[in-house]
Each structure stands twice: as C-alpha cells, then as structure tokens.
C-alpha cells in the first residue's frame, strides 16, 4: 500500500483541495415534468359540503374567474425533490465552506440544535393571534431575549419586529423622526449624518425616512473625521447613523465625542451594530452615548442567513425613546407574558405581528448555550481570528490594508489589491471568482469602491486556525496565479457550476428576462 496521505502534502503543507462545485447542468423547472403529473394532492372536499354549497364559484362574476390555468410545471413529487436537491448542491452555504469571504456578513456557524428546536410544532404551528395564554412559551422567549439584548447593549427597550438590518435602521430613523416631531422640531431637523464606511443602508434608509444625508469621509488616519462632524452638525441635525467598527474593521476611538457633539446639537445617535461580533462583552451602545441601536440576529447571533432572510434586526432604544417603539412590545406582569400596545407615541407597525419568532428563538438558544463568558469568548476569538488571518493575508504580495495602515483591526478587514492590479491587470473581482474554484466565497465591498480593488474578509469565531491557514493559502495561490497566469484567473471560474455569465442582458431592457415567460417571449419561443 502506498502512502496516499503523504501525497496530499507539499513541503509539509497540505495541498489545496481539488474542489469542484456540483454541476448538474440542471434544466429550468419549466422544462421538467409532463402534463397531468402531480406533485401533491390536496384534501378533497367532502360530499356533505359540496351538496350543500352547490357551485363553489356561484356569485363570482365572470371577470373575476380564472380562465386559463397558470402555466406552472406539472411534476411528480420525486422529480420536484431531485430538482431542488440538485440546485441546493449548486449552492455554497456556511455548512460547506470556510466562509470568511463574505465580509460584513458574519458568516458564523448556525448550531443545528437551534434549527431543530425552531422546527418543533410548538414553534411552527402557532398562529400569531392566538390567545396569549396559549403562547406563553414563545412570549417568554421573546421577553427573555429582550432582557439579554438590554444587558449586551445597555439600552432599555427592544423591538424584535424589524425583518433585518436595513429595516431596523429605517425603524431607528423613524423613531428619531417621531422624537423630533414630539418636540415640534421635525421640520427643522431634516439632516442625518453618516460615514462613508458605514453600511450603505444607513444612508439609504435615512433617505426613505425623508432625511437629507450628509456623509463624512475619513480623516487622514482612516478614522471617522471628527472635524468634519463638527462642521456638519447644526440646528438641522436630526441624528447620526453610524457603524462602529466601520466596514474597514477600524473602531472609532472618539465615538463618545461623536455622540456628545450630536447631542449638543439636539440630535439623536443610532448605533448600527452590524459589526458587533468583536464587541460582545467588550463595549456597549450605552457607554458610547447612543440613544438607539440595532443588532442583526442573522449575523452576530448566529441564526442562519437563509439565502437572504428571514432575519431579524432587533432594535433597542433608551427609556426616553421607548414610547416611540413599534407596537406591540412583549411585557411580563409578574404572572404572565403579554403583548403591550401601550407605547403612547408609537411609530406603529413595522411588520405584521411581532417579528420572525423562530429567528428570535434560535438567537436566544445561541446565547443560552454560551452565557456571558461565552459571548466574550466569541468576540475575542473573532478578533483574534481576524488579526491572525490579516497577518497571513498581508504576507501575500500585492495586497494591503489601507486606512490606519499598520493598526490592528477588530473583526474584519477591508483589503486592497491595488498593487496586484497595477502589476498584473487582474481585478479583485476576478480573484474572487477564481477563489470560487477552490470552494470559498470572496467579497469585494459595497459600491462605490472607496478602497480600490477591495476585498472584505471577516473570519468570525467559527473557523479553526487550520481553516484560516487554508483560506489564506487559497488567496495566496490565486494571487500567485494572477502574476504567473493572469488569463487563467480572468477566465475563471473553471470548477464552478457555471462558466462566465454574459452580463449584458441584465442591463438591457430589450433583453433582460426576469421570469421564464419573459425569457420565452424575448427569445421568440412558443409555449
């Protein structure tokens, strides 16, 4: 028997995986099945009902009746299952890869036990309008989780309604508006301040809430510019929406000064805690002077991202602002948990019912598996992992970490491959696509690219030293290819489900096809 294991190493280091993504060459679902096939049968209507009612459609005017059956696929059950199983295999979840490449997204491990708990009928089969006495368990979980968030942030009341981070930011902007309205200053205070390295939704959501947005650029050191803030505040300032650490992974040491200046001008401060993972148990919104904050439960609190939701953006405020929170909030009267519709000046509803309860349940279970010491461990290891990976990445030729160069970072880093680009002509985006050939994600940055040729990595606490080594080795390999064989990188992917996609149709109204029916029409195909 030969030593196969030895062949998996070169110079003592493990070889890169010879990864290949599943490639089922899967048809679009409309091409599958046959007329008459059924995927599931629905409960038949009993004769007793039929005979009494007669014609179910009686009274429904002709114009309101469907004439042509919808052209949905007609497929047998196993065919549907296999189709979607194939598609799932052509997808790369956290469960399958060293997911440090989707920076700002906090792609940590989502414990399976929490998913199992959330699938219990005592969670899934609850109607939100059931009598409170029959939902005491889920209300208790929501209430307990609020207490946890209060301690983590230092703020005093939370709503769990917002369906993700962006709508949480919107909720905060909306609460600020309600606060200024209550003081008769809503008209006058129409400017919201943010920074260029905060999440783009901070600006976008403020605008939807009706605000003008003033963006601050970093100072020469790479920190948010305090002098620019001083120049920006006025009697028109409604508030500040800011992430900290910013998407560069740099913590703003003058954050308390920022909030003080805003308060002195009569504004409120909202803390976008999308990047909270390295801060759990280290520092809080309250001490930094924030009036509002939000946490993404699908990021920091481990709940699975679900391809982009469902999610929760838990939103917290000080006692003073609690009267503006969306209704209802969950309360406890010493005997039972109940839905409290009291908040006098509530901004109203942000979401139907009370938020995505199963996500709250999973986040609660995650915290309860870790406790205070465990959350602190999460933060410390996430930050250690990040600085460890940064050291490895910066050893690769062609990459840098601009802004506050030479400083350590918190939980993520926005790198720049500008040097590599100048020397090879290979863009960061191409490196990312090539990285997919090795079974990992890689993300550049939000647009516009302030850091040139960007790449944002966030290792979280969920990956081992060996896995971080492996990710760095992939990057090093890909960067090396950019120098030795740039066309190999430019023509990537090679081991993915699909090859280079023609992007032109996506921006051409004559060609774009957002549904199969549009595609058939635009390609002149008969149905």
């Amino acid at each position: 028997m030969k030593n196969i294991t030895a062949e998996r190493f070169t110079n003592g280091k493990p070889n890169l995986r010879r990864f290949h993504q599943a490639r089922w060459d899967e048809p679009v679902i409309f091409e599958l099945g046959q007329p008459g096939q059924r995927g599931i049968l629905v409960p038949e209507v009993e004769e007793g009902i039929k005979s009494q009612v007669g014609d179910a459609l009686a009274g429904i005017p002709d114009g309101l009746r469907r004439k042509d059956p919808p052209k949905l696929p007609e497929m047998a059950q196993p065919a549907v299952l296999r189709h979607y199983d194939h598609l799932s295999q052509e997808n790369l979840g956290v469960d399958f890869n060293i997911d440090v490449g989707q920076g700002t997204c906090t792609m940590k491990y989502s414990p399976k036990v929490n998913d199992q708990l959330a699938r219990m009928p005592e969670m899934t089969e609850l109607h939100p309008l059931q009598d409170e006495s029959t939902v005491q368990g889920i209300l208790e979980i929501m209430y307990r989780f609020e207490q946890i968030l209060k301690e983590i942030s230092g703020l005093e009341r939370f709503t769990l309604q917002p369906g993700a981070g962006s709508v949480a930011i919107y909720t905060n902007a909306s609460i600020m508006r309600a606060y200024h309205e209550a003081r008769g200053e809503a008209k006058q205070r129409d400017e919201m301040i943010t920074t260029i390295f905060s999440h783009p939704s901070d600006a976008a959501c403020a605008k939807v809430a009706g605000y003008k947005v003033i963006t601050l650029y970093p100072d020469p050191e790479g920190y948010p510019d305090l002098e620019a803030l001083k120049a920006a505040v006025s009697e028109r300032t409604a508030g500040l929406l800011i992430t900290n650490p910013e998407d560069t992974g740099i913590f703003n040491p003058k954050i308390a000064e920022f909030t003080r200046i805003i308060h002195a001008a009569g504004g409120l401060c909202s803390y976008d805690q999308a990047n909270a993972n390295g801060m759990l148990g280290i520092t809080r919104a309250r001490e930094a002077g924030f009036d509002l904050c939000h946490f993404n439960l699908h990021k920091t609190f481990s709940t699975p991202h679900g391809c982009g939701g469902p999610a929760v953006g838990a939103t917290g405020v000080t006692q003073e602002l609690a009267r503006f929170l969306p209704v209802p909030i969950v309360d406890f009267d010493g005997q039972k948990y109940f839905l409290n519709y009291d908040p006098a000046d509530s901004i109203g509803k942000i979401r139907p019912f009370y938020g995505v309860a199963p996500v709250v349940l999973k986040a609660y279970a995650w915290v309860m598996a870790l406790g205070a010491a465990g959350l602190r461990e999460v933060a410390e290891v996430a930050v250690l992992n990040n600085n460890y990976l940064m050291k490895k990445v910066l050893a690769i030729h062609g990459v840098a970490a601009p802004y506050a160069a030479g400083k350590r970072r918190v939980e993520q880093v926005r790198y720049s491959w500008q040097t590599l680009f100048e020397e090879t002509g290979v863009h960061s985006e191409a490196l990312g696509i090539r990285a997919a050939d090795f079974g990992v994600h890689y993300w550049t940055s939000h647009h516009p690219y302030v850091v040139p040729e960007p790449c944002t990595l966030e290792p979280t606490e969920s990956y081992s030293k060996e896995e971080l080594d492996e990710y760095a080795a992939i990057l090093e390999h890909v960067a090396g290819e950019a120098y030795s064989d740039p066309n190999l990188v430019r023509s990537a992917p090679h081991n993915s489900t699909v090859h280079t996609i023609d992007h032109h149709p996506f921006d051409d109204p004559q060609q774009w096809a957002i549904t199969w029916r549009a595609y058939l029409r635009k390609t002149g195909q008969e149905r």
Partner: protein, 464 residues
C-alpha cells in the same frame, strides 16, 4: 476569581493552546492588543449580567423545549384565525428543501458560488409570474405590508405624484405600516367602501381622483375576505386620471380567481406565506411585487430582480442581478429605498410549493377553500342572532361574523371557545368598531366538514 476554562464547541479556537499559539503568531501578548482603540471609559467592567448558560446541548434542548411546551399549537386546538397569517397544509417537500444546509446557511454569494440560489429564486419568480400572468416579479421582500408600502412608493416615483388612494377596508396594522413608510412626503386618502357589498365606492373614488393621485390601491380578497367585483371599473378610473392601479392578492386564490392583471392592475403585490410557509407565530411572512416588463416600472423596484442569461458555454443557463444599479448597495442613498436581507428562503420554499401544486393543485385548493368557507358561512349564518352575510360580495377564505344579534361580546365568546379547544375568529371590535361585535373567521383546505360543524355546534353551545 478562578473560573473553570470552558472550551466552546461552536468556537474552534477557544482551546487554550491554540489561542496562545495564534496570539504568539500575531505578536500579541493578549487579546487586549486588538482593543487598543476602545477607550477605557467605554469598556465593560467585568462580565455582563446574563443568565447562566446551558453548556451541554442536552441541557439547552431541555430548557428551550420546556419553554416551547408552554405553547398550545394549532395542531392541538382547532384554529379559525387568519387576518394575514394562514394555516394551510405545508407539503413535506417544502420543509425538506428549506432545511437543507446548502440553502439554509447560504447568504449573498455570487452566481459562481451560489448558482442554486439564483436559479431557484429565478424559478420562484417565474412561477409567481405564471400565477400572476406578469413578466416581472421581485425576489421576496420582508412581508405583504412592505410589499404594499413599497408598491405605493414605486407608483409615486413612476408618476411623479405624491398622493395615494387606499380602499377603506384595510387591516389597521397594514395601514399603520403604510402610513409610517409613506411619511413624510406622500399623502394618503381613503376611498369609502360600499357598506352593502364591501367593495369600493366608485363615486367616491371618482371624486378623489379629481385631485392628482399616483395610485389607487385595493385588495382582492379584502382584509375582511370579501372580493372586489368591480376591479375593471376601478382600474379604468385610475388610468383615466393618470394613476396606477395596485392590487394586493392572496396568491393561493389564483388557481380559481383571475389574476389582477386581467382586470387592469399595473402592480400586484401580496404575501406568499400561504404558499408553503408554516405560520411560526407570524414568522413565515414574505412579500412579493409584480408588474409587466416596462422599463419605467422595473427601474423603480427597490428589491433584487434576478434574470437569466447565457454563459460562455453553449446551452448553459446563467443567472444574475438585473439592472443592479437600482439598488441601494450600488448607489448608496440614490438607490430606490433599500436592498437588504429579507425573506429569500421563503421565496425558494414558495417555488417548491407551486411546483408541487401545479395548475391542477392550485385550482383544487382554490375551489376547496371556496367550498369550505362558503359552507362555514352558511352554517354559521344559521345560528340565531348571528350574521355571516355582513357583505353581499362573494368571499374567499375569510368572512365577517357579526354577533350583535346575540348581545354577546366576541372576546367573551372566543374565551368560551378556547375552553373547548377552538381558536375562534379574530376579534374585530376594536379594529373596526363600525362592524359592532364581529369576528373574522378563516377557513382553509385544512378544515374538514367535521371541523366546521364542530365550530358551529360549539358556538351554539356557547351562545345558549
């Protein structure tokens, strides 16, 4: 204080030896080195005051299960609650697919990492497109409330006007969401309903349309279950005055009911929770917005739109973002509203649901709901002092039951039903005081004749 060092199973590098090695590798004496920028005054002193954790998975499971068992489910009790969250059968395959780690734990990868997500969501949009007979459907947004609010804002951007007209019969919560979302620049006016049918008062609509408006919005079925039978007249009036017609629908009705485009809707929206999502205490909601393939409208969608395209290999399907520059990611505050995490997994699930159901399944389920809800209306209407014909229009899935003739309060009746293991219809007395003591009763394909009969007999007992 000496504490036992815990190695956390979720945190690979929490093993002390590994941690120490990594610290050495980055020339840091402790993790404090990474927090140098956090001023001392902002540091948490000591440990946070959180409950003691359940460190073993077994203990954790026991704790959470213990809490959940305090709930009573709609499997244990007979449920007639609806009002935006509906109990339908969830096919096993729906759960099977959305539990797969490949979908459940993925997020925002490019088409080269996450082809499956792009294709399955494109297919979801395409199947919704068939149901709605529209060429453009978005990747799900948060919920039906958001879909309505966003559709209205889209109409304002498209028409350059800032006033919208909403049908009077609208859930109070949804109205609240819309009000907040349209603030501060968009004005809302309410179109009176015809008290007999529950439909829109066309005269009043015409009067309101004399002031420049961006959109006329109604729901089919309405929040109270009644169908709007004058869809064409309403949309004609809207168009005559340069306004768009926006209709919110229950997608599960569309196997039997005409898609709103057939009566002139420009934008159709709603919530896909009925299509394969468990109720989850309201956690299964997800919104859709659809329209025809008109560049003017498409460019105003704030949500992601996935498109199909060739790759460099002949015969290979590729997918990607259509008109990416619309989104707030690409344009920061110039974007239309915003794009973010919403409810993609429920979109994939609804796709699975529609593929399983097919045209025949959608027809049968629609008919089944019509039969059962009509049967329930008839039977409940037979109870002395109880009216189930508050609106004369036909209904789908839900209907108003009025108890004024019995002199009893809905709250009290529901409490009595609860003791009999039944969740009665939603109490409308605070939401719609003009309906008196009324409840909104929901009947779907999961209800058997026996279930409905049991509700009727229980009501009779409670009332006697």
């Amino acid at each position: 204080m000496t504490q036992k060092k815990i190695v956390y199973p979720y945190i690979p590098n929490s093993a002390p030896e590994v941690k120490a090695q990594m610290l050495r590798d980055v020339d840091a004496s402790s993790v404090e080195a990474f927090y140098a920028d956090v001023p001392a005054a902002l540091r948490i002193q000591g440990q946070m005051d959180l409950p003691e954790p359940f460190l073993s998975e077994y203990a954790l499971r026991r704790h959470v299960e213990g809490l959940l068992r305090k709930n009573t489910t709609t499997q244990q009790y007979l449920n007639f609650l609806g009002a935006g969250c509906y109990q339908h059968h969830v096919p096993a395959i729906c759960d099977e697919i959305n539990q797969r780690g490949e979908f459940l734990t993925a997020y925002a990868g490019e088409p080269y990492d996450d082809h499956g997500r792009f294709q399955s969501l494109f297919e979801y949009c395409s199947m919704m497109g068939e149901l709605l007979e529209m060429d453009v459907v978005n990747v799900p947004n948060y919920d039906g409330f958001q879909a309505t609010a966003t559709s209205l804002r889209m109409a304002c951007r498209i028409t350059g006007r800032n006033r919208v007209l909403l049908a009077a019969i609208l859930g109070r919560d949804k109205l609240s969401r819309v009000r907040d979302y349209l603030k501060p620049e968009i004005e809302i006016a309410s179109v009176e309903h015809d008290p007999k049918t529950g439909g829109m008062n066309l005269k009043h609509l015409e009067t309101l349309l004399k002031t420049e408006s961006a959109a006329v919005y109604f729901e089919n079925p309405s929040y109270l279950g009644s169908l709007e039978t004058h869809g064409t007249e309403i949309t004609d009036l809207a168009h005559k005055h340069g306004a768009l017609a926006i209709v919110s629908v229950d997608p599960i009705s569309l196997g039997v009911l005409a898609p709103p485009v057939r009566y002139g809707a420009d934008i159709v929206c709603g919530d896909i929770q009925p299509l394969g999502m468990h109720m989850q205490f309201g956690g299964g909601q997800a919104g859709f917005i659809a329209s025809q393939d008109d560049e003017k409208i498409v460019m105003q969608y704030p949500s992601r739109l996935f498109g199909i395209s060739p790759t460099r290999v002949p015969g290979e399907y590729g997918f990607g973002d259509v008109a990416y520059d619309r989104t707030s990611f690409a344009k920061r505050e110039e974007g239309n509203e915003w794009v973010g995490t919403a409810a993609a997994l429920w979109g994939i699930t609804a796709g699975v649901y529609l593929a399983l159901m097919g045209p025949q399944g959608m027809k049968e389920i629609g008919e089944g709901i019509l039969y059962r809800s009509r049967y329930a209306m008839q039977e409940i209407g037979k109870i002395k002092g109880v009216r189930s014909d508050v609106f004369s229009a036909p209904h789908f899935k839900e209907f108003v039951v009025n108890f004024d003739g019995t002199g009893r309060k809905v709250a009290e009746l529901n409490a009595a039903l609860l003791r009999k293991g039944i969740f009665g219809g939603k109490d409308l007395s605070r939401e719609f005081p003009w309906l008196g003591e009324s409840a909104l009763v929901c009947v779907t394909e999961i209800h058997t004749q026996e279930d409905i009969d049991r509700l009727v007999s229980s009501l009779k007992e409670v009332l006697s």
